[in-house]
Amino acid sequence: MTKFGEMPDRTGRDLFADAGESAIKDAGIDREEIDALYVGNFMGELSERQGHMGPLMAKMLGLDVPATRVESACASGGMAVRQGIHAIRAGSADVVLVGGVERMHNMGTTGATGGLSVAADDLWEIKHGITFPGAYALMAQRYFATHGGDREDLAEVAVKNHANAANNPLAQYQSEITVEKVLDAFPVADPLGLFDASPITDGAAAALLVSEDYAAEHDLDAAVSIAGTGQGTDDLALQHRDSLTWTPATADAAEEAYTDAGIDAEDVDFLEVHDCFTIAEVLALEGLGLYDPGEAITAAREGETTADGELPVNLSGGLKAKGHPVGATGVAQITEMTKLFRGDHVNSDAVENAEVGLTHNAGGTVASAVVHVLEVEA
């Protein structure tokens, strides 16, 4: 992945080429071996009047292969990964480049807020004033009313993820914060403040996927395997859900991915989850079956999900502190987890003996969710 951060002058195509070239070099595979390209991107039309990124990004990387853009709001990157897996499993490709990119800072805060909002329902949400911070604030308020918990519990999630990013050179924020700082921050959409929210981020990420046969035939050191993939879909509009605090798309994606990998939730050693807002990490841990509904709100505060906890969550810094270039996020979860497993991530020591990792990438108010299970051999 590229460095994540504030780079308003860098075009989406340049960011993607940067990440793609890094991925190809890291894998040590000749670019002629690549059979297909999938590009995750959410709002190129709005940020730089650029759609149709498949062909564009293929040529930016000197590739002459079938190239397709994948859009599922903030889950675009994870869905691009899933398309790559499908292509390999279907036997139509042996080597696939998957990636994602988003340029956001050139839109400004109000512009980016408006751009992101189109992942919601235009007729029944956007026209009435909903924003994404606002939508997650509605979920947080309902969570507090239904299960208890408060802003301080959520602040602990932000503090944890900032601590994880503090030494990650690719993260947007490499600084620790305090609970007080989170609680005193400007209220974006009360009860969520500025430090409950992931930032506006420019960046790209890419990964090279190969089939098992290809890895064996070419004697590749593919240390990490994607053992399971799953996807879930829910009503687009938050208001149409039976529950405002339970995310069936996450639960469905997890169930499919666990079955695909032949594991149970208890087998997961560490995770990268979609913490676009602090409450989102709580809802993800519950939807993934790692905590009962109403129980994950205290996980960060109790130290269960910190780097030295039983179940480290978002060792990369998460969306919250690593940054959230929306179309790139789902791919960055895969590349960061790969480095965590391989031992060349700044936080690798926290997962030295881990064998099973999980990535969870969500779109909108979790109307889309995609889960991947990553494994290494002990």
Partner: protein, 127 residues
């Protein structure tokens, strides 16, 4: 999009709401949804009818929005909520001070217009 172009179904609903006669869509199996619909989103029944929306709803959740989309740039801060009217849930802005709003309160439904661009939106009042 040109101002004269309507969103059929949605704008019909908003017209009815403005006239104090809001409705929802009910299928033959009793599932509720909002227009436009050709099929019930729950059971795909194509036997759909309009039914009167209850006059008061229960506020399920709310926020106080400070950072808006461009369409509400001059409207912030505002209180936004989701309220349940029978089997139908709607998102709208609550015309009240945030200190007076609590989850579980009764609200009535109507329309208001954005101070930013004059577009109408769903508004709730504490009942």
């Amino acid at each position: 999009m040109s101002e004269e172009v309507r969103d059929d179904g949605y704008d019909d609903f908003m017209d009815a709401l403005e006239e104090g006669d809001p409705y929802y869509i009910e299928c033959a199996n009793g599932h509720a949804s909002l227009p436009p619909r050709r099929l019930c989103p729950e059971c795909a029944s194509d036997d759909l009818e309009e039914a009167a929306l209850p006059e008061t709803g229960e506020l399920l959740t709310y926020n106080v929005t400070h950072v808006p989309t461009p369409a509400f740039a001059d409207d912030v801060p505002f209180v936004l909520g989701i309220a349940e009217f029978g089997d139908v849930r709607l998102t709208g802005q609550i015309r009240a001070e945030s200190e007076d709003v609590e989850v579980g309160e009764s609200v009535s439904i109507g329309t208001d217009v954005s101070e930013t661009n004059g577009e109408r939106y769903i508004a709730f009042d504490l009942a």
